[in-house]
């Protein structure tokens, strides 16, 4: 539960949709690593992103603030951001901090990808 090193995997799906799988502690370093991965995908032509947090059990407010910044950059480019596989505590944290007002929250990766209208083959 307390991995200090975040493990990231990025994938480009169909129709300009990027996928980031993040497992580990989302603090300032983990959040920044996700932000860097998001910037790379957006720079490579992905307008919208899915961030899969399966394997992430603990976060802090600084890390979530960085996720908020990712969300704002995606929205500035008329893209959309979705999260999936959140624990109940992370889902509640997102709700408290307002991410759920601007990003889609889905129970699993398939649902998140489907919301963008692609087949979701990762």
């Amino acid at each position: 539960m307390n991995e200090t090193q975040i493990n990231l995997k990025t994938t480009v799906l169909d129709d300009g949709l990027g996928l980031i799988s993040a497992a580990g502690y989302i603090n300032n370093e983990g959040g920044q690593a996700v932000a860097d991965a998001a910037s790379e995908l957006v720079g490579g032509g992905c307008q919208s992103l899915v961030i899969d947090l399966d394997g992430t059990r603990i976060i802090n407010s600084i890390g979530v603030s960085i996720l908020l910044e990712i969300m704002e950059k995606i929205m500035e480019g008329d893209g959309k951001l979705a999260f999936c596989n959140l624990t109940p505590t992370i889902a509640k944290t997102f709700e408290i901090m307002g991410l759920d007002q601007y990003a889609g929250i889905f129970p699993d990766r398939e649902a998140a990808v489907t919301s963008f209208g692609t087949d979701g083959t990762a």
């Binding site: 603990i58 802090n60 505590t89």
Partner: protein, 137 residues
């Protein structure tokens, strides 16, 4: 049953406290969701202690019996202190386009835990919080 940790203010030390919550929570029979809620709240309290508190701080964890058994979590530092009332719990105006996205720690603590008491003055800040063993987020 009580756990007392004397922690230095070094990067990621809050995860040591979170691991203690996991161990004690399992021993007390707290479910996974409850343990994770307490862990996130404690991480925020530890970050506050490191930000405002100086070189070290103390974490105390304990199980409390009663009509509703619960876990008690306490974080104490000897730093400069802060005004807990200066951190408004209303978050509706603090999202998207606001000036700062920092300062969510106390809000998260209050929302994730069942009861919270904060006392702070220069030289002694104590955050005490409780989570019922069967009250997940």
């Amino acid at each position: 049953m009580e756990v007392v940790l004397h922690l230095p203010a070094v990067p990621n030390v809050e995860l040591v406290a979170a691991k203690a919550v996991e161990t004690l929570g399992e021993a007390l029979g707290m479910d996974r969701n409850g343990i994770e809620a307490v862990s996130v709240a404690l991480v925020e309290a530890c970050l506050n202690a490191m930000e405002h508190g100086g070189s070290s701080f103390v974490v105390r964890l304990a199980g409390e019996d009663g009509v509703s058994p619960r876990m008690r979590v306490e974080v104490e530092d000897k730093g400069r202190g802060f005004d807990p009332d200066a951190c408004p719990p209303d978050v509706s105006t603090r999202v998207h386009g606001c000036v700062s996205k920092r300062g969510w720690g106390l809000t998260l603590i209050r929302e994730l835990m069942d009861d919270v008491q904060i006392s702070s003055r220069p030289g002694l800040t104590r955050v005490r919080m409780w989570k019922e063993l069967e009250n997940a987020p």
